[in-house]
Amino acid sequence: MNGEPLCILLVEDNPDHAELAMRNLDDGKLANRIFHVEDGEAALDFLNHRGVYADPGEYPRPHLILLDLRLPKVDGIEVLKAVKASEELKAIPVVILTTSAAERDLAQAYQNYANSYLTKPVDFDSFSELLRDMGFYWLAWNKRPW
C-alpha cells in the first residue's frame, strides 16, 4: 500500500463475464486500473508491449493477471506458459479464473506454474465474494517485490 497505482490484466473472452469481474473488482476499490483483453494473443501483445499496446506508459506491466483458460486464438494455458517462460514476466502472479472445474485443466495450470486456480461460481454472491477476497489477498495482503 505504497500509493503506487495497481494494475490488473483481465483476460476474458466472454464480455459479460468480464463485466461481472470488473464490477466486483471495482466494488472492492482495490485496483487503480483494470485492463481487459478478449483473447490470448491480445494478452501476450499487452504484456510484451506489442502492436496497439506498444506504449508502456499507457499499458503498464500489471501487478496481477486474471486469466481465463478457454480463449480464442491463443489458449489460456499457452498464455500462462509464455508468461512463466519469460524472465521478465514470470514474477507476475497469474490467477486462473475459469468456468472449468476439470481436473485436467487444474493439473495443467499448476504444472505450468499458475499461482492460483479459481473456478467461477454460478452463484452471484459467491462470485462477488470470491473476486473481492482474491483481490484483497493478491493486491492488499500479498507482498510484492516491486
Binding site: N14, D16, H17, D39, P72, T99, P121, V122, D123, F124
Partner: protein, 632 residues
C-alpha cells in the same frame, strides 16, 4: 532264399550225376580196354608162337626134313613111305628116320599137351596126309576162308570149360613142301593148310582182373573224392548264400521298410532301387517306375516342373539343394514332396548315380497353410482391433472434449445470467436503476446463447446417429439449392457467388452434404471482414487420386496457427462473431462420416480462405464393404 538253395542242391545233384557217369564211363572204358588187352596179348602170343613154328618148319623144309634116331615114340612115318632113304643107318649101326616139318611140329605140339597153361598148336589141312590132322568144323571153316585170301582168323572160345583164344593162320606151300606133298597136287604158293593156336586166357584174365579191381578201387576213390568236393562245394556255396542273403535281407529290410520314398537312380537314369513306399505316396508301383524311369518327371506338378528340372540338373553336378515340390498322383490328388538327394560313388570312387529321398509333407504343408491363414486372420483381427482401438480412443477423446466443452460453454451463460440477475437485484435494492436495462439485456442474451448452444449440440449429436442411405448427388444442383437458401444473407452482405459448372456427381447423404456447403458458405460470408467486393467461389480440383471440392472466399483469412483450431467444437477466433462456433466442427464431422477430409488453406490474414473437402463414400452397390458411415 529257399528257391536259391533248391537251385544249388539241384546243381550239385546234377554235378554229382555227371561225375558218376564220367567215372562210370571211364571205368567201363578201362574195363573193356583191360579185357580187350587180354585177348590182344593172347593174340600176339599166338602170332609169335605161330611165327616161331613157321620158322622151325621153314628151317625143316630147307633141309628137306631132319633125321632123328628111331625110338618108340618116334617111329618111321608111314605117310612118308614114298620118300627114298626114309630110314638110314649110321656107320655105327644106329637107325635114323626122316622127320618132316609137319611130323616135327606135331611132336612139339604133343609135348605142350602135357601142360594145360601152355600155348598149344594144331596143324591141320583140308587134305591132310594123316587122318588125325583132319580139321574140326571151326578149323575147316577158317581154312576155307584162307583159300579166299583171309590172312588170319581168331576167336575166343570156351574149350573144355576154359576160356581160350583160338587163332589160325594159313600155311603157304613152299618148294620144300613139295618133297612130301607134291603127290597131293600142291604147287608152291597154294594154301597147304593151317595151324590153329590155342592160347589159354585164364592166367591173363587173372592179371586183367587184378588191374580192373585196382582200377575199380582207384576210380572209386576218385569218385568219392569228387562227390565229396561237390558236397563240400555245395555246402560252402549254400552257406555263403545264406550269409549273403542275411546281409541282403538286412539291407532290404532297412531300405524297404521306410515311410519315405527312397530311390537310387543310375547314371543312365534307370532306377537301381526304388522303395515300395513309392506306391503309398504316388499311387504308382515300384515296377512302373522301374519300367519307365521318366514317370517321376511326368507326375511332377506342372507349376513345379521348372524348379524340379533346375534341381535335377544341379543335382547331377552335385549342387542339388533340397527342394519341395508337388506331384499329381494317379488318382489326381496333389501331394507335397520334400526332396533331398546326393551323388553316390562306387568303392573305386566313380560316380554311380543319385540317391534320393522323397518325403510326403502334405500334412505339414496343410498345417503350415492353416497356421499361416490363422496368423493372417489373427493379424487382421489385431490390426482391426488396433484400428478400432484408435477409433475408440479418438471417440473417447472426442467425447471427453465434448463433455468438457459442453460443461464449460453451457456453464458460461449460466454464470452470466445468475451474475447479472444478482447485480440487478442488488442495484434494485439500492435504487440504482441506471444499469438495469443493459443488465437485463445481458441476461437475455446469455439465455439466447444457451438456447442456441443447446440446439447446436442436439444437432451435433444427431449427425452421428442419423444418416440417410447414400445416393448419387448432383453437386451443382445441390449447391444451387444451398445458395438459394442463403440468398438473404448473401444479398445482405453483397456477396458475389461463382459456382463452377459441371461439378462431378458424388455419392453421399444429400441433406448432410448440403449442410456442409451451407456451413462453408455461411462461414465465408461471416468472416468476409472489410472486403469491399466479397466473392465466394465453389469448385473442384484433382487431388492425389481424389477429387477435392473447395469453397473459396476473399475474406479475412486465417493465420497459420489457427487453421486447425477453427474446427474445434465451440471454437471461435472472434469472440464477437455470431454463432456458437459449432459450424465447422459440424461440417468436418459430416465429411468424416463420408470417409473424407475437411481442411482449410489460406495465404494468411486478409488473403482469404479456401475450405477443401474430399468425399470417400462410394456407390454401395459397387462395393459392399464400402464404409457407409453413421454406423456408430
Amino acid at each position: 532264399m529257399i528257391k536259391q538253395k533248391h537251385r544249388i542242391r539241384s546243381f550239385a545233384l546234377l554235378l554229382a550225376g555227371f561225375w558218376t557217369i564220367a567215372i562210370a564211363i571211364s571205368y567201363a572204358w578201362l574195363y573193356h580196354h583191360e579185357m580187350d588187352s587180354v585177348v590182344e596179348v593172347a593174340r600176339a602170343e599166338a602170332r609169335a608162337s605161330f611165327n616161331k613154328d613157321a620158322l622151325f618148319r621153314r628151317w625143316g623144309n630147307r633141309h628137306g626134313g631132319v633125321y632123328v634116331p628111331v625110338t618108340e615114340a618116334t617111329l618111321p612115318n608111314p605117310y612118308l613111305a614114298h620118300i627114298a632113304e626114309r630110314d638110314i643107318t649110321t656107320p655105327s649101326g644106329r637107325r635114323l628116320t626122316l622127320v618132316n616139318p609137319a611130323y616135327m611140329m606135331r611132336q612139339v605140339f604133343e609135348l605142350a599137351d602135357g601142360h594145360g597153361d601152355q600155348i598149344r598148336g594144331h596143324i591141320t589141312s583140308l587134305k591132310p596126309l594123316r587122318p588125325e590132322n583132319t580139321p574140326d568144323p571151326w578149323e575147316a571153316k577158317a581154312l576155307r576162308q584162307f583159300e579166299n585170301g583171309v590172312q588170319e582168323v581168331s576167336e575166343v572160345q570156351n574149350v573144355g570149360g576154359h576160356e581160350q583164344l583160338r587163332l589160325m593162320r594159313p600155311f603157304i606151300t613152299e618148294e620144300g613142301c613139295l618133297k612130301c606133298h607134291a603127290v597131293q597136287g600142291y604147287k608152291a604158293g597154294d594154301v597147304r593148310g593151317g595151324v590153329s593156336v590155342l592160347v589159354p586166357l585164364e592166367n591173363k584174365a587173372e592179371y586183367a582182373k587184378s588191374a580192373v579191381v585196382a582200377g575199380l578201387l582207384s576210380y572209386g576213390v576218385l569218385w568219392i573224392f569228387g562227390m565229396g568236393l561237390i558236397l563240400v562245394g555245395a555246402r560252402v556255396v549254400t552257406r555263403n548264400l545264406s550269409i549273403l542273403e542275411e546281409s541282403e535281407e538286412r539291407y532290404r529290410t532297412v531300405a524297404n521298410y521306410t515311410a519315405d520314398w527312397e530311390y537310387w537312380q543310375g547314371l543312365d537314369g534307370s532306377f537301381k532301387y526304388i522303395s515300395p513306399s513309392c506306391k503309398e505316396i504316388s499311387d504308382y508301383s515300384h515296377d512302373e517306375f522301374h519300367d519307365d524311369p521318366a514317370l517321376i518327371k511326368r507326375i511332377v506338378h506342372p507349376d513345379d516342373l521348372a524348379a524340379f528340372d533346375n534341381h535335377f540338373h544341379a543335382a547331377r553336378n552335385g549342387k542339388g539343394e533340397p527342394i519341395d515340390f508337388r506331384i499329381v498322383r494317379r488318382d489326381g490328388e496333389v501331394r507335397w514332396i520334400s526332396h533331398i538327394c546326393q551323388i553316390v560313388y562306387t568303392s573305386e570312387g566313380a560316380e554311380n548315380g543319385i540317391r534320393a529321398s522323397n518325403r510326403d509333407i502334405t500334412d505339414r504343408k496343410k498345417v503350415e497353410a492353416a497356421v499361416k491363414e490363422q496368423a493372417a486372420l489373427l493379424e487382421n483381427e489385431v490390426r482391426e482391433r488396433m484400428v478400432r482401438e484408435v477409433e475408440l480412443e479418438a471417440k473417447n477423446a472426442e467425447l471427453e472434449r465434448f463433455t468438457y466443452t459442453v460443461s464449460h460453454d453451457l456453464k458460461s451463460p449460466l454464470i452470466t445470467i445468475k451474475g447479472f440477475a444478482g447485480a440487478v437485484l442488488k442495484d434494485f435494492e439500492a435504487g440504482k436503476l441506471t444499469r438495469l436495462d443493459s443488465d437485463v439485456k445481458r441476461i437475455m442474451g446469455a439465455a439466447d446463447k444457451m438456447a442456441a448452444l443447446l440446439s447446436d449440440l442436439l444437432e451435433l449429436s444427431r449427425i452421428g446417429r442419423i444418416m440417410n442411405p447414400p445416393s448419387q448427388i448432383d453437386l451443382n444442383l445441390l449447391a444451387q439449392e444451398v445458395l438459394g437458401q442463403l440468398s438473404g444473407p448473401l444479398a445482405q452482405g453483397g456477396v458475389e457467388v461463382v459456382l463452377q459448372p459441371g461439378l462431378p456427381a458424388v455419392w453421399g447423404d444429400a441433406p448432410r452434404i448440403a449442410e456442409v456447403l451451407q456451413n462453408l458458405v455461411e462461414n465465408a460470408v461471416k468472416y468476409m471482414g472489410d472486403q469491399l467486393q466479397p466473392l465466394v467461389e465453389i469448385g473442384v480440383r484433382e487431388g492425389e487420386g481424389e477429387q477435392v471440392f473447395w469453397v473459396r472466399d476473399n475474406g479475412m483469412g486465417i493465420a497459420e496457427p489457427y487453421r486447425e483450431t477453427v474446427f474445434g467444437l465451440f471454437n471461435k477466433l472472434d469472440p464477437h462473431s455470431e454463432g456458437t462456433g459449432i459450424g465447422l466442427a459440424l461440417a468436418r464431422r459430416i465429411v468424416e462420416l463420408h470417409d473424407g477430409r475437411l481442411w482449410v488453406e489460406s495465404e494468411g490474414p486478409g488473403l482469404g480462405s479456401t475450405f477443401c473437402f474430399t468425399l470417400g463414400a462410394k456407390n454401395p452397390a459397387d462395393n459392399d464393404n464400402a464404409t457407409k458411415g453413421g454406423t456408430t
